[in-house]
Assembly symmetry: C2
Homo-oligomer: 115 residues x 2
């Protein structure tokens, strides 16, 4: 297992196309492919007006907002978030993230290895 | 298990005092105490000239640099890092982080639950 040191700008962004996502890109910064044994670090960019799909799954999210303004929906609650906000979304709770600002919403979202 | 949404400024910083650390503070943003099932998100601030101890342990780090300039030592290699750099440090490899800039070095460091 080797270390990895990479700038986000060197990692290819891929569109998120699963149900209901709009204007959202993902970059996998650290993942199983790098030998990470337990969890993966992903970097998301959401365009103004864009959003991730409202969905749930049996694993958690640990999120940190880097830039921009957004609304995070978790279950039946909504939270305004901005740079420096950390968000824990438990497993099996419906959630979505919407960009409510005028710039790109940038955030890290980490998940455990799920298979 | 409940969600958690918190701004970093609302989480108390604690000095890191283990062997050799200088000018380093940690804020536990998401941890077992919040019900996180698999891994913890910590926010570090390292003062100019400060550093984390050189040490190793049987769990990995997944790091993202938020602000500042630093040098990350991993085994016998060194990497200059800045905002937007992601770093994977495998288990059981000696490592340290030194602030080489004039501002505070701010970073996220995530670890799996280890007990």
């Amino acid at each position: 297992m080797r270390e990895k040191v990479v700038h986000v700008s060197r990692v290819e962004p891929k569109p998120v196309t699963e149900g209901g996502a709009r204007g959202t890109r993902i970059r996998w910064l650290i993942s199983k492919e790098d030998g990470a044994p337990n969890f993966s670090m992903r970097y998301f960019e959401i365009e103004p007006g864009g959003r991730t799909p409202r969905h749930s799954h049996p694993w958690e999210h640990e999120i940190f907002i880097l830039e921009g303004e957004g609304l995070v929906e978790i279950g039946d609650r909504e939270y305004e978030v901005g740079p420096g906000t950390a968000v824990f979304i438990p497993p099996d709770v419906f959630h979505s993230i919407t960009n409510t600002g005028t710039g790109i919403l940038k955030l890290l979202c980490l998940i455990p290895h799920v298979d």
